[in-house]
Amino acid sequence: MDLSKLTISEARRALDTKEYSALDLTSAYLEQIAKKDGEIHAYLEVWADSAREEAKAADEMIAAGKSLPLTGIPLAVKDNILIVGRIASSASKMLENYRASYDATVISKLKAQGAVFLGRTNMDEFAMGSSTENSAFGLTKNPHDTSRVPGGSSGGSAAAVAAGMALAALGSDTGGSIRQPASHCGLAGLKPTYGAVSRFGLMPMGSSLDQIGPLTKNISDAETVFDAIRGHDENDSTSAPDDFYPAQALKRVVGVPRAFVEKGIDADVLALFNATLEKLRTAGYELRDIEMPNLPFSLPVYYVVCPAEVSTNLARYDGIRYGYSAPADDIAGVYAKSRAGGFGPETRRRIILGTFVLSSGYADAYYRKARAVRDIIRNDFEQAFLSVDCVAMPTAPGPAFTIGEKTSDPLAMYAEDIFSVTANLAGVPAMSIPSGTVERGGKKLPVGFQLIAAHGNEAALFTIGKEVEKV
């Protein structure tokens, strides 16, 4: 088996025809991790022993003819998703020794399928960042060029799959944290519709934005993982009932917000984007230029709404109930010192920013204004989806950047999210699809093509995405 090319569908076939066992497959991945992860550092922890046990249990399911789509499939899990008894740290000193006391719903669903968990992957602390450099436990390198970042915040998950160290991985996406690393590592990355996948057991960052989704080698695999983890969950009151959005017929029309797409993007990335659009035209899709006049406000709106939600969500890390606790004379001291010692610089920056935009005297001009602008951005999408199946955009304005390039300039780092935050603000599903490479410093770097669909219309992403995937 060639782990660099293996897909879930091919592994499923081989496992079910007993070409190799789930234990063979898991052992091959563990070997690959031992060989490669010293350099890449995609994993914060590898669970070799339990992975082998899970693989053996999967082999029994297969032998009994009870194989499910993900039985025996070795997966990596982002470090902000809870697995009972396992450390889940969100790559933060705050939770360095925190052991989950329950399974996230997505994990229960994957366990029921007999999936194998290889380990937990590196990320930007509490999922804040676009490069995985904000991890408290060291950075992750891009397997395509180890002088570059894998993107973020789900950078460890992306690097693990891209380096053949996991067959697929779970990530979380608040403003592009699945799609942008997928783009930078040459993978398919899906952010489902807000409410499609339960967030029970996902550490919250921006609760009106967060979704869990898969990073995989191709679209068909993304669909398989999405089908396994989706669905209503009574433990997550924001998860949508299963028939909440009606099925939508395909119009075979793709919309392009030209004016928005052509600003602040690398020339060769834009050329590749246009070439991919032409492929869709050749495949029989109509391309339509569309006006979405409020899209340019997406990034500033996001950097009001997200920090506001971060500052409230992260109030729970106070050194009292769990996580890092610093000694002090009184309780106020414990709070302030624990939070200072537990949180990294970007997390602290966003907490301060969020505290400001929510503070009395400024909340109207910042937070409430941003909420209002978010509504008109959402309206832009609703208008667009009256006439198109998908809105197409690049995933990110450039390929993977070099390590350290943007760490000293928060605004340059935030600009990575310009195209991806749009879908989170509108709550609509979006996917990054590998669409070729551009060259930087003699290395070929992957670039993603992003499709965004209407609420509940992941089907359009998969159908049209598969056209993009065909060379």
Binding site: Y98, R99, S101, Y102, E234, S237, T238, N294, F297, P300, V301, Y303, V304, S311, A315, G319, I320, R321, Y322, G323, Y324, S325, A328, D329, D330, I331, A332, G333, V334, Y335, A336, K337, R339, A340, F343, P345, R348, R349, I351, I352, L353, T355, F356, V357, S359, Y362, A365, Y366, K369, A370, A372, V373, D375, I376, R378, N379, E382, P410, L411, Y414
Partner: protein, 96 residues
């Protein structure tokens, strides 16, 4: 829109101890980020914004979980405990 951002006051509100060096850094970074996000003031929201349909999610108002079911799990995660309680430092202290 903002002339001066009082980082010290914000840190206090956020219950976050900030070192003098970080304070200096944040005093330039936060206004820069705020100047960037301030572009939202240019958006025209006078057009009738459609409020997304909201739904209430309810459950029956009975005791879904028997008392004590998760006591051990919750206490195991706490940094300090005193019997079956999470132990905390003094909340109200005499002025020094």
């Amino acid at each position: 829109m903002t002339d001066k951002v009082d980082i010290g006051a914000l840190a206090k509100l956020a219950r976050l101890e900030v070192s003098p060096e970080e304070m200096k850094k944040l005093e330039t970074e936060i206004p820069e980020i705020l100047a960037f996000v301030d572009t939202i003031q240019k958006a025209n929201v006078s057009a009738e914004a459609k409020v997304p349909e909201l739904r209430n999610v309810m459950r029956a108002d009975d005791n879904a979980i028997e008392s004590g079911t998760y006591t051990k799990k919750i206490l195991d995660a706490a940094p300090a405990r005193d019997g079956d309680r999470v132990a905390v430092k003094q909340v109200i202290s005499r002025k020094k």
